[in-house]
Symmetry: C2
Subunit: 454 residues, 2 copies
């Protein structure tokens, strides 16, 4: 029987506030937010659950880590973004379980207070976290780049390392603080490595008396053969040339075997090597949110090596047409783990739910590849759209335009443009407050322990 809830046999159980059809969306990221927004126009009740109060614009996280942007410029408050959709309720809560049989999401609110929300349809979009490929012990020495906290920690370490270098008691020690290793040469790693060099060479010019920040060594390590490997040979080669010219040392085809407070142990084409460095940043791998494993176990769905759920062609959980799993935590047709896939997935899920409600047929998810891009440095980017390959300033213009228009708030857009002008035309990197000492102090010391280094 095809009821009001659509062709897939999902029953409209009327769990919403006026006994209406209720959609629960878990995660307000690139997948969940567009879904909630679109459903905000539909005749359904929507509950958006997120443990953060903001949508994070992750592609610009590296600019927070390098002092260009403030947290608020890349974090749009979910309540603010969704304020006009009165049928959407935002719940600040962390999901701990999903009961697929009873169709109930169980979460913890502030103060660990339990919250249960029933759903007629569910969209799970909790994305991915940093993966250390089984070496979680690396995390303390090499923070990842997934959250605002991560970015602020990395910022403290970068600026703290330069402060430590300025006052180091020996040339060896200075050199150790002046060496930074970025693991992973995907867009995040490449952008971060380029920005650290730019920060050192341009923005900090004249700031120090004992060190020359332009001497900062940035070493970019990746197991693949070239940076930005997913962009194809031509752009990879361009990126490699640009990075080398900007003073980034590339160590490709090189695996990281160990990370400690004093540096990294790597194995490259030339054999085993120890890179002494007090600052190591991990931008290498991702693994699906733990909810993926939980859903897979409950439904019998398969997961891949990165913990992602193998979803049906329409992005639903096998055997559960009422549950959509989208974005980085799902795998389908080898789609890349990028924001665009999550966004289109969120829109597909929302649209499918609306079509079912109207009794219209739904189809499989078709991803429309809009291309990929990454900045290399000031006014430089690489761009790949279909067969088009673009580099340099034209690519940067497109990059800047796309990133500005996709920021969620008008204030974020204008403010970000302004900071870019300040950082790229001028020299300003104002977001770098930092302090020492036990009494008061705004920001803690970098987590490095000088004593722990060899």
């Amino acid at each position: 029987m095809v009821d009001q809830a659509g062709r897939s046999g999902v029953e409209g159980r009327g769990r919403g506030s006026q006994g209406r059809y209720q959609v629960v969306v878990i995660g307000g990221g690139f997948g969940g937010l567009p879904a909630a927004r679109m459903l905000g126009f539909a005749d359904v009740d929507v509950v958006l659950l997120d443990r953060r109060n903001h949508h994070l614009f992750q592609p610009l996280l590296y600019q927070v880590a390098t002092g260009i942007l403030s947290e608020g410029q890349i974090a749009a408050p979910l309540r603010h973004v969704l304020r006009r959709h009165k049928n959407v309720t935002v719940e600040l809560a962390e999901v701990r379980d999903i009961d697929l049989d009873r169709r109930v999401v169980k979460a913890n609110r502030m103060f660990d207070e339990p919250l249960e929300v029933s759903y007629d349809s569910l969209i799970v979009a909790t994305g991915s976290g940093q993966s250390y490929f089984g070496h979680d012990e690396f995390a303390v020495h090499a923070p990842g780049m997934k959250t605002i906290d991560d970015a602020l920690e990395i910022r403290r370490r970068i600026f703290g390392a330069l402060e430590a270098a300025e006052t180091a008691s020996s040339p060896t020690e200075t050199e150790e603080w002046m060496t930074m290793v970025v693991v992973g040469a995907g867009p995040t790693g490449v952008e971060l490595a380029g920005q650290i060099r730019e920060l050192a060479v341009r923005s900090l010019d004249g700031n120090f008396r004992h060190i020359d920040p332009a001497q900062v060594r940035v070493i970019l390590v990746d197991a693949g053969n070239e940076p930005l490997a997913t962009f194809g040979d031509k752009l990879s080669a361009h990126a490699a040339r640009f990075l080398t010219g900007a003073g980034v040392e590339l160590r490709m085809a090189t695996r990281v075997n160990g990370v400690d407070a004093g540096g990294v142990d790597v194995r490259g084409p030339g054999g085993d090597e120890r890179i002494t460095a007090r600052t190591v940043i991990w931008a290498a791998g991702v693994e699906a949110s733990p909810l993926a494993g939980m859903l897979a176990a409950a439904s019998g769905a398969e997961v891949d090596q990165a913990g992602r759920i193998a979803v049906q062609a329409d992005l639903t959980l096998p055997g559960h047409p009422e549950v959509f799993v989208i974005g980085d935590m799902a795998t389908l047709d080898h789609l890349p783990g990028v924001a665009e896939v999550a966004m289109q997935g969120g829109i597909h899920a929302a649209r499918s739910i609306m079509r079912r409600r109207r009794g219209e047929p739904t189809g499989p998810f078709h991803y429309r590849d809009l291309g990929s891009m990454a900045t290399l440095g000031r006014f430089r980017a690489v761009l790949s759209v279909g067969r088009l390959r673009l580099t340099g300033f034209p690519a940067w213009l497109v990059w800047a335009f796309v990133h500005i228009v996709t920021l969620s708030t008008a204030a974020g857009r204008v403010g970000t443009l302004l900071r870019w002008a300040g950082a790229m035309i001028g020299h300003s990197r104002n977001e770098r407050n930092f302090s020492v000492g036990r009494t008061g102090g705004d920001v803690s010391l970098p987590a490095h322990d000088r004593a722990a280094a060899p």
Copy 2:
């Protein structure tokens, strides 16, 4: 004998890098930074010691606490501000002792590494901290408003309280979270109270589904008879009217006897009262930096109730003409503890040192009162300059102009103007990232402990 170092018998001992005269400045705030900048043009070596890497523009701290500005917009990196003064070295270190006889400042750098700096002249400008009038135990429940950390903590509490109110399980609990007490009706307390109401009424409009943020009660408590008492009766009365109209409840002539997780105990004209409130902010008193007491003990100088050193007419430490003590940590002729006094004191000290070096006479410190002002809310301020009293929009224009031009960096100026436009013309308060849960999460929960409340 009057030597090169000037009339006051200070010997030029040549401790600088090329055996030059060395001035040490402790503290890069409103007193120390102008002093270091001015000395940056003189033929002396300058060492500026601060435990923070930034100059903090405290008068706008309340805008960080209420989500309008980011930290970087009111924190100018000292190294950046002073980069062109090659004779100025910034040392990130916390001073722990001053040896007046040997003329040596002892400090701790990062990792607690000791640093000793000799001086020919010394300027001490470490300002003041929050005072709880002997009740330091209040601090955990009622954070102060002196540092960026303080402002971020208050921001978490304000936004966290509204989140908690949204999900509270009883009307009583909702009310407790919707009540906020600000202790102290000086400029900081008045500005904060006004901004919290404005945030609730304008910026958060439509953000919540269960509470109406406009119902937030803000109670402003002060032992004096009126808000902004130092501004005089006319402006105080204006401020009182405006605040009441904006929905701030004034409890004047009211003393705070106790603060705990559930509220404050006060004694007012109507007797003892318990105000139940989960959010309490302390903007009531200041006490001089601990260095003041240290210097007083070492020199025999007197200190007043707030711990400030009674300095000579030329701002020097009694018996130590080579040591200037300026700003909030010094007391002279009942000068107010405002930024302007510190700035003029810093310039006086720097100028005196330069004159002595040239063998010219130096004189006492003359404070030129440029007036005082405070914002009451959107486009509203009060202003007192000489006999002039100004209120409303004209006063706000002057306030905005003065605050914009005195921000230390161009980027800070433009960015701040923009945020004001966003917050005052629009509704944006983007700086409010916040999260719940144990795994990851950008920002910790407010320190309130629900269980600890009565």
